[in-house]
Structure formats: structure tokens, C-alpha cells
């Protein structure tokens, strides 16, 4: 029983990270119809910014806020420099460009900070543990879950209730028509990138806060997994992104926890096989719309 709860808890916290990142993919996808493979690198940017700020002696809370700000700025810059001119260029061009941006950011980070892994020291408060039922839970696990819930709720509220959200939905529905109605599409796309970047920054900080060591290649694989989570849930759907994130984490954690020895090292392969199976049955993901338009 204890083993199961422990597995479940680690699935929940990993799933929260995936969900936060997957929402970012999903928002950008629904508005621009493009997949931003460089999204994962935002986690790296957030972590490195926080690390630099903490080393410079900035108080923790301020450093976190600044790191999120820096990440959002990078998100805006990436869109402005690399993606704006290829907005109408077709799926494959966009995928390739974002891959290139991803490689560029990772290499740039390597050039500045080299590729050795670094330790992030967060206040002791976060690593305090307490017991729920029969398992140990640390404060950062609770913070991770809370952040995910609050931020997801906030994104839903922004999209459903605010003027910006309404404009975002309009642009997602039909960019040209929204443009003709006087909505500034560039501003809306920037807003989407800011939201995505903030979520990614929080996810990055929570992730490296939990595992304490990080390096310049932390973002890509995490990004790819979160992206797969978004695809699993159905790109363009917020519910899909969150559900996909948790499903992905549950698969990963339970495969590595429960598969028989000798097979367990194939867990990554199993996770992807499940993804392929899901897409075979539902080619648009679990919550994706069945027509090929973006939603």
C-alpha cells in the first residue's frame, strides 16, 4: 500500500510539471497552429536565471519573480525574432525552425555556463517533509500541486472571462477574421507566448527545485515529454493538456515501478508505445476535435 501511494504521489508531482508545460504547448498551438519545440528550453532559461540571481545574493522570492520575468521576455523574443516571419510557412517549416531555436538556446547556454550539471539551492523550508497516511511528502510536492492547480485555474479564467481571453479565442478560431474585426493579432500571440512562458518558468523552477541538480540539456527531453502529453490529450485543448500530463506521468512512474525486472529498463519505450496506440485509435488525441481545424 505504501509503495503504491508513494508511486502515486510521485506521479502526481511529475504530472503537474508536465501539465504546466503541456498547457503552454497547447495555447501556442491553438492560436498559431504551430508546435514550439523550443518551449522546453524555457524551463532551462528559468532555472539558469534563478541560479544566477540566487548566486548574486538576490532574496529567494524576488529571484523567483525575476526569473519568471526573464523567461517571459525570452518567450516574447523567440516569437518576435524567429516565429513571426514564418507564421504562414507550413507545418514542417515551423517544426524545423522551433527545433533550431531549441538547439540554439541550449548551445548558447552551454557556451555561457558550460555543460556541467549545477546545484540549485532552495530555502530549507521547501524540503521539509511530513507524513500523509503512510507516505512522506515534502513541502515542494505540495507547492508543485498547488501551483499547478492555481495556474491552470488562472489560465482557464483568463481565457474564458477576460477581454484578452476572448480575443485569443477569436484569433484561434480564425486569425484573419479576428484581424479584420480590429483585434491586434500580434498582441494576442505575444500574450499567448507570455502565458506559456510563465507556466514553463514555474514548471522549470519547481522541477529543478525538486531534483536540485540541473544542466543545459534539462529542457529538451522534458519538453518533448510534455509535448507528447499535450498530443495525447489532444493539442489545442486545455483539459487535454492537463489530463495528458497526468496520464503521461502515471504511465512513466508506474511502468518504472511495476514492470517486471528485465523489462523495466524499457519503460521509455513502453510509454511511447502507449502514445502510438492512443493516436492510432484517436488520431487527434483524447480530447482533440475530430475535424482537422484547430480549436
Amino acid at each position: 500500500m505504501g509503495y503504491f501511494t508513494a508511486q502515486l504521489i510521485s506521479a502526481v508531482k511529475l504530472g503537474s510539471i508536465y501539465a504546466l508545460v503541456a498547457i503552454g504547448y497547447s495555447i501556442v498551438y491553438s492560436i498559431m497552429g504551430m508546435i514550439n519545440f523550443a518551449h522546453g528550453e524555457l524551463l532551462m532559461i528559468a532555472t539558469f536565471s534563478l541560479w544566477v540571481l540566487l548566486n548574486a545574493g538576490v532574496p529567494f522570492a524576488l529571484a523567483v519573480a525575476l526569473a519568471i520575468l526573464v523567461t517571459a521576455l525570452f518567450g516574447i523574443l523567440i516569437e518576435r525574432i524567429a516565429y513571426r516571419s514564418i507564421r504562414d510557412a507550413g507545418e514542417s517549416t515551423q517544426i524545423i525552425t522551433s527545433l533550431a531555436v531549441s538547439i540554439f538556446l541550449e548551445a548558447l547556454c552551454q557556451a555561457i555556463f558550460n555543460s556541467s550539471s549545477k546545484a540549485l539551492i532552495i530555502p530549507d523550508f521547501f524540503s521539509k517533509t511530513f507524513r500523509i497516511l503512510d507516505t512522506t511528502v515534502s513541502v515542494i510536492d505540495v507547492v508543485t500541486l498547488a501551483c499547478t492547480l492555481i495556474l491552470t485555474l488562472a489560465v482557464v479564467l483568463i481565457i474564458r472571462r477576460t477581454a484578452v481571453g476572448k480575443a485569443m479565442r477569436a484569433v484561434a478560431d480564425n486569425m484573419e477574421a479576428a484581424d479584420l474585426m480590429g483585434i491586434d493579432k500580434n498582441r494576442i500571440i505575444t500574450a499567448a507566448f507570455v502565458i506559456g512562458s510563465v507556466l514553463a518558468a514555474v514548471a522549470g523552477i519547481l522541477y529543478s527545485g525538486k531534483y536540485t541538480s540541473f544542466s543545459n540539456d534539462m529542457g529538451f527531453m522534458l519538453g518533448v515529454k510534455a509535448f507528447i502529453a499535450a498530443v495525447l490529450g489532444g493539442l489545442g485543448s486545455l483539459t487535454g493538456a492537463v489530463t495528458g500530463g497526468y496520464i503521461m506521468a502515471v504511465l512513466e512512474v508506474f511502468f518504472s515501478g511495476y514492470l517486471p525486472r528485465g523489462v523495466v529498463s524499457y519503460q521509455t519505450a513502453f510509454t511511447f508505445l502507449v502514445l502510438i496506440l492512443v493516436l492510432l485509435v484517436r488520431p487527434n488525441g483524447l480530447f482533440g476535435s475530430s475535424n482537422r481545424q484547430r480549436s
Partner: protein
């Protein structure tokens, strides 16, 4: 007499595409020494890899990120087949006896490996080619992850993450030049056949192609399998150039390098594989001289890690923004000049030479 443009004159084609490159190649091969030879070998292997990806991504319009996976299959399968029983048994624990016993000469091993990879591609493609666009891209990327995971863990076949080593260096310059020419020739014949036109028709308009009786799934699957075949040939040659292989070498980085060659050269053109491979082979070699730090106008530039990646990705983004069809675009000038009979038969016609002189005179007066 009809005036033929200089670039379409058989003599010009022969000089530009056949004779001069051949001379350059011979010169480089005989004066360069072993370092230049291995760079050239890598260049021809890269041509094979890029051209094989162009068949799916550019010509058929299946956007695959999986070429590194097939390259890995080719590299591993051919290496296991060429290594001697003794080497295999000392390096790999518990390799199945029948497999350890097999030892083939290089060329048959390469072909068996390529066919193996093609069959695997058939199995995978059968399952995944229903997906399109973004979904296909991510599934093929997932395929690379799965293949790496299998290579990492099938210890009794692949020696796990330590990889295989001790392969003989069979990939000499003549071997890879012939392999690259054969690859380009076969792919070019496929492209200009009815089958190849069906691929292009599918890329342009699926519904229209289907209404003319083109079978969507068959063509896509065939294209995917042929691409995997040549991807594996490239991988096998690569393994017998490097002489050690490990699963981590066939991962996202390699995927991206192949993709970069294909896109920079021009995805829709087989000829594009040549300039694409040239850039991705030679520029990193040049940059390697600078990555340890250098002096520019008296300013000491310190060592820059990952310089190649920075330069290549910037070059890449700039290319996509300003010329997204790549260097070659839709033109098959290089490959068609190489393989069309007119280039060679034209050399025996008088018009060729008068036309050549004529075109030159016009160019001068213009």
C-alpha cells in the same frame, strides 16, 4: 537554330557536374592525407542520409523526424554482421550463438542491414502512417526514442549503452562515392518514374491524387520503407567509418543534423542533398578550429563550447526565414545532369560545342 542556355548545354553540364567535381575529388583524395579523406567519406555518407530523408519529407510530404533511428538500425545490424565471432563473444555477453557465428563481407552485410531496417520501417510505418503533420512528427521522434531505448537495453545483442567497437574501416572513399552515386541514381529514377510522380501528387493534393487512383497508404508506406533502406545504408557506412558506435550517437542530435542537411539543401530536391551535406560536413570542421578560442583583430576570443551548434542553428533559422525552399529549391539540376544520358551523348554532337561557344559569346556581349 534554337538558342540553348549555357546551363543546359551538355558540355557545360558535363564540366560543372561531372568533370570538375571529379578532379577536385581526386586532387583532395591524393594530396589531402587521411584527415581530409575521412572528412570526404563523411560528406558522401551525409549525402546518402540527406537524400534518403528528402524522399519522405520533401518529395512524398511525410514529415518524419525518425531518420536517426533507421541510421542506428543500419549501423548496428551491419556491425554485428561484419564483426568476427571472437570479437563479438569477448565484447558482448551472451550473444545468441547463431548470430555470433555469422560473419559476412561488408557489402552483403550492408545490404542485409538495409533490408532489415526497411522491414522494420514497414512494420512501424504500417502502424504510424495514418497520422499526419504534427502528430507524425512526434510519433517518428518517439520512434527514435524507442529505438534508442531498445539499443540501450538489449545487452546481449548491442552491448547496451557501451556500444560496439572494433569494426574494420570498410568505408573508404571509393566505396562511399559509389554508394552515394548509386543512392542518388536509384532515388532519382524513382522520382522521375510514375511512382515518384504519384508521391509528388500526394504531397500536392491528397484528394486529387486519390481521385486519380493513387493509393495513398501504399505510396506513403513504400516511400517510408525506401527512405529507411537508404538511411540504414548511410548508418552502416557511418559505423564502418567511425569504427565505434553507441546508442547515444543516434539520438536527437543526429536527427537534427540530418534534418538540417535536408532543409538547408532543399527538401523537395534530391540534388539539395549535396549542398546540404557539404555545409553540414565542412562548416563544423572549419568551426572546430575556432572552438578552442582564437584571436580576432587583436581581441582574444575565449573558448566557446557548442560553437558549432550556435552557428549552425543561426544559419538554419536565417535560411528558413529568407529562403525556406533551401538552396536547391525544386531544381534537380545536379542530379539530372549527372544521370541523364544527354549529358554524355551530347558530348559527341557538334551542336554542343558550337552552342557552347555561342552561349559564351552571348554572355560576354550581354
Amino acid at each position: 537554330m534554337e538558342k540553348v542556355k549555357l546551363r543546359n548545354n551538355p558540355l557545360f553540364r558535363f564540366l560543372a557536374v561531372v568533370l570538375l567535381p571529379l578532379l577536385a575529388l581526386l586532387l583532395a583524395a591524393f594530396t589531402g592525407g587521411s584527415y581530409y579523406e575521412s572528412v570526404l567519406v563523411l560528406f558522401f555518407i551525409n549525402i546518402i542520409l540527406a537524400a534518403s530523408l528528402n524522399l519522405t519529407n520533401g518529395i512524398t510530404g511525410i514529415f518524419s523526424l525518425g531518420q536517426a533511428g533507421f541510421m542506428a538500425l543500419g549501423a548496428y545490424a551491419s556491425s554485428i554482421l561484419t564483426l568476427s565471432e571472437k570479437t563479438k563473444n569477448t565484447m558482448v555477453r551472451n550473444m545468441p550463438e547463431w548470430l555470433a557465428k555469422i560473419q559476412l563481407p561488408f557489402i552483403p552485410a550492408l545490404i542485409v542491414a538495409a533490408v532489415f531496417s526497411m522491414l522494420i520501417a514497414g512494420l512501424i510505418g504500417f502502424a504510424i502512417l495514418r497520422a499526419r503533420g504534427h502528430y507524425l512528427a512526434v510519433i517518428t521522434l518517439g520512434m527514435v526514442i524507442v529505438i534508442k531505448s531498445v539499443l540501450d537495453n538489449a545487452n546481449n545483442l548491442t552491448n547496451g549503452s557501451r556500444g560496439l567497437s572494433g569494426m574494420a574501416r570498410y568505408s573508404t572513399l571509393p566505396v562511399v562515392v559509389i554508394a552515394a552515386l548509386l543512392t542518388l541514381f536509384i532515388l532519382y529514377r524513382i522520382r522521375i518514374s510514375a511512382f515518384g510522380r504519384a508521391m509528388i501528387a500526394l504531397r500536392e493534393d491528397e484528394d486529387a491524387a486519390a481521385s486519380l487512383g493513387i493509393n495513398y497508404s501504399t505510396i506513403r508506406l513504400m516511400s517510408f520503407m525506401i527512405s529507411a533502406f537508404f538511411g540504414a545504408v548511410g548508418g552502416g557506412l557511418w559505423a564502418h567509418l567511425q569504427r565505434t558506435i553507441a546508442p547515444s550517437l543516434f539520438y536527437f542530435n543526429e536527427t537534427f543534423i540530418i534534418l538540417e542537411m535536408s532543409v538547408l539543401g532543399g527538401m523537395a530536391s534530391l540534388s539539395g542533398a549535396i549542398p546540404g551535406a557539404a555545409i553540414l560536413t565542412f562548416v563544423p570542421q572549419i568551426l572546430a578550429n575556432f572552438s578552442t578560442g582564437f584571436t580576432l583583430f587583436g581581441i582574444q576570443i575565449p573558448q566557446i563550447n557548442g560553437l558549432t551548434n550556435i552557428v549552425m542553428s543561426v544559419l538554419f533559422i536565417v535560411t528558413i526565414i529568407f529562403r525556406k525552399q533551401g538552396i536547391a529549391g525544386n531544381s534537380e539540376y545536379i542530379v539530372s545532369s549527372l544521370f541523364d544520358r544527354q549529358t554524355y551523348t551530347g558530348l559527341f554532337k557538334k551542336e554542343t560545342y558550337t552552342g557552347f561557344a555561342d552561349a559564351f559569346r552571348r554572355k560576354k556581349s550581354a
